[in-house]
């Protein structure tokens, strides 16, 4: 039989299997118990074995039901993907020693995510995903400490770079409009408890 590989299905199957194997490994810590008195590890073990089996099945079928190749990655895509991971991890480790604020709660995670996604945004293939994710990560970092207005303005302005047809005037307009709208909805009407301005 002629092989007719479906790249998308094969990748999906491998992802399912990888997650299942990681889950089975982590589940070694939990006691299985018996079928009558199931321990905390019983259901996870069952679920992950089924998932691994389904993943293998998907991989098996993917050899025949193609062709549906994965989208091609350019050299820059691969470079920025790996670079983003390295830069993100580095920022995550180093940030707390640069400024104590980054060491508090999950701020280092936010710094790492933002740095990593900005590196990925260099290549056109990742641009939309990376800029949107970076803007949301920056929002997480800034919203609590830099306050409602600065956090939201950063989110809106950074996210606007994901769409090439935005003009300067348009960005200023949409930022002003959304700040006013969200102030009215969330602060005036719903009264959520957040700082409006920077608190350090």
């Amino acid at each position: 039989m002629k092989l007719n590989v479906n790249g998308k299905d094969m990748a999906s199957g491998l992802i399912l299997m990888a997650i299942a194997l990681a889950g089975l490994y982590l589940n070694l810590d939990h006691s299985l118990g018996t079928a009558r008195r199931m321990g905390p590890g019983y259901m996870p073990a069952m679920v992950f074995w089924i998932q691994a089996g389904l993943g293998a099945l998907v991989v098996f079928f993917s050899l025949m039901n193609g062709p549906d190749p994965l989208e091609r990655w350019t050299g820059l895509d691969i470079g920025t993907f790996l670079g983003g991971i390295v830069a993100g991890l580095a920022a995550f480790w180093i940030a707390p020693s640069i400024w104590g604020f980054f060491g508090q709660t999950y701020n280092a995670v936010g710094v790492g995510l933002a740095v990593g996604f900005f590196v990925m945004a260099i290549s056109a293939g990742w641009k939309m995903l990376a800029i949107i994710c970076a803007s949301v990560s920056l929002f997480g970092l800034l919203f609590e400490h830099a306050g409602f207005f600065i956090g939201l303005a950063t989110l809106i302005i950074v996210s606007c770079f994901a769409e090439p047809t935005h003009t300067k005037k348009g960005i200023v307009g949409v930022t002003a409009f959304l700040l006013a709208l969200s102030w009215w909805v969330f602060i005036y009407e719903l009264d959520i408890r957040v700082n409006l301005w920077p608190q350090f």
Binding site: K8, D9, S12, G13, I15, L16, I19, G23, H30, T34, A35, R36, R37, M38, P40, G41, M43, P44, V47, Q51, L54, G55, V58, F61, N65, L70, E71, T105, Y106, G110, L113, M128, L129, I132, C133, V136, S137, F139, G140, F143, E144, L152, L155, I156, S159, C160, A162, E163, T165, H166, G170, V174, T175, L178, L181, S182, F186, L190, I192, V194
Partner: protein
């Protein structure tokens, strides 16, 4: 019958309170708006409004969210007919005949049929929900844990069989969803599972970050990658009424559509879009005007529009009576109820009569509102389309982010949303359906609980699942559904139906 009327009376009493009316209207308005706008659907909208419903009473919150779902079915038809642009998946088939009708100068008639057909179907479906709810609830109360487990398994399998694309992949996504639901403290032993020592995970992964990341923000990224193509409105709406002949032709189509839609809405994995497709196929084969199909047959608008609205409402039946969500929107409703501290299930009718009957009454009230919102105000909704996506998506992001953050006032949830955005993006690139994952995630913890209880009662004997008649029937149906799909002929038929 008397009881039904008095219960419905109670429901109308609840639904007609000022606050509930106001939020039903708000839901209907938001629903119509997102129905008109392509690129944002009810799943994304409901997930980004979930955190906001936190501050509302449970009944009001659910009434509003339900309004969004069926409102979107009305709104979706408008752009489908006028611009050949389906605002929702469920109105894809409406473009086939509806846009042709608009080109023939019968846009007004098409819009009127769509709205009137939807209204009729909505009314019938509301009565159906009210009548079948308490009966099914009685049946559900006799279920043991083993029956529940099998029922949920059946729900998951049928949801996969009806999902688009490969079934094995869809089941894989369901199981992954169940696996994600395992994260957190084990209810019976108190042991932390898969939490990596992160205190925020001890209550489990958040429902909102997953839904918002995979359906809200990942959707934005995918829309941005597809360049925008919107034609400018050139068709005149014309007069919003039907000729006698059109009325005569659309009546049986509406009746058939209501029937098909009500049934398909009940099935797990069904819901509005499947109903619309089903009804379209039926009309093309059965209606008197089938020769006109492809050239603007009014039956092709009336049937599917009635069907999608009927299904949007009957899909509440499994949720309200059994606590089982049949599609992604219903999974979000479970999320909303759990945020409110209500466990959906057969006890809801007894424990939360206000919510149960109030919601049903509000569905009918919402349909009346939608008729008014849609027909005379159609021009206003079409203008909404002139807002370009580049102004729309920052607004969606703002609501998503504030919503996620304010859940626990913790940036951790925001970072989880980012992770699930990336995961949702990968899934759609690999053609893995995110909806089964969400249903699995919601049902997973309940399934584990029922499984453990069933096995404890049976003293570790697995045969309990085939010995109890209800449970055995459920498993049997699930097995048949799977086997049917394994047969090449039927699978090809399904693929063909999905492709059309």
């Amino acid at each position: 019958m008397d009881l039904l009327i008095s219960n419905l009376g109670h429901g109308f009493g609840v639904a007609l309170s000022f606050q509930n009316l106001a939020f039903a209207l708000l839901g209907a308005l938001i629903g119509t708006a997102i129905g008109v706008l392509p690129g944002i659907g009810p799943v994304a909208t409901i997930s980004l409004l979930l955190p906001i419903t936190f501050g509302l009473p449970a009944t009001t919150a659910i009434i509003m969210l339900a309004g969004i779902y069926y409102g979107a079915q009305y709104g979706g038809s408008t752009t489908a007919i006028l611009l050949n642009l389906p605002g929702e998946v469920s109105s894809v088939v409406t473009t086939l005949e509806g846009y042709k009708m608009a080109r023939n100068g019968r846009a007004g008639a098409a819009l009127a049929t769509a709205a009137l057909g939807s209204f009729f179907a909505g009314t019938v479906a509301t009565i159906l929900v009210a009548a079948s709810g308490p009966v099914l609830t009685q049946v559900a109360l006799s279920f043991g844990p083993a029956d529940y487990f099998s029922l949920m398994l059946l729900g998951l399998i049928i949801a996969c069989v009806l999902a688009q694309g490969s079934i094995v992949k869809a089941i894989g996504m369901v199981v992954l969803g169940v696996a994600l639901g395992l994260v957190g403290t084990d209810v019976q032993t108190g042991q932390q599972r898969f939490t990596f020592g992160i205190p925020e995970l001890s209550d489990g992964l958040g429902f909102v970050p997953i839904a918002m990341g995979m359906f809200g923000i990942a959707e934005i990224v995918l829309n941005l990658e597809r360049p925008e193509s919107r034609s400018i409105l050139s068709t005149k709406v014309g007069q919003l009424w039907l000729t006698k002949e059109e009325f005569k032709r659309s009546t049986p189509a509406v009746l058939r559509g209501t029937l098909v839609g009500s049934f398909l809405g009940l099935l797990p994995g069904g819901g509005a879009s499947l109903a619309a497709f089903g009804s379209y196929m039926m009309e093309r084969k059965m209606s008197k005007g089938r020769a006109m199909f492809g050239n603007g047959a009014i039956e092709g608008v009336a049937g599917p529009e009635a069907a999608n609205n009927a299904a949007a409402q009957t899909s509440f039946i499994p949720l309200l009576t059994l606590g089982i969500p049949s599609n992604a929107v219903m999974a979000l409703m479970v999320g909303a109820l759990i945020i409110q501290g209500i466990q959906p299930g057969p006890r809801m009718v007894e424990a939360q009569p206000d919510l149960f009957w109030g919601l049903i009454a509000s569905m009918w009230i919402g349909n009346v509102m939608l008729l008014v919102i849609n027909l005379p105000m159609i021009g206003m909704w079409v203008k909404l389309l002139s807002v370009p996506y580049r102004f729309l998506y920052p607004s969606i992001l703002v609501f998503c982010c504030i919503g996620v953050y304010s859940l626990n006032n913790n940036a951790f949830d925001v970072y989880m949303t980012v992770l699930f955005t990336v995961f949702g993006y990968i899934c759609s690139k690999l053609k893995m359906e995110p909806a089964p994952l969400l249903i699995g995630f919601v049902l997973g913890p309940m399934m584990e609980e029922h499984l453990r209880r069933a096995m404890l009662l049976s003293r570790g004997d697995w045969s309990v699942f085939v010995q109890r008649p209800i449970s055995a029937t459920m498993l049997g149906i699930a097995l048949i559904a799977l086997l049917l799909m394994a047969m090449p002929n039927i699978r090809k038929g399904k693929e063909k139906a999905m492709a059309e």
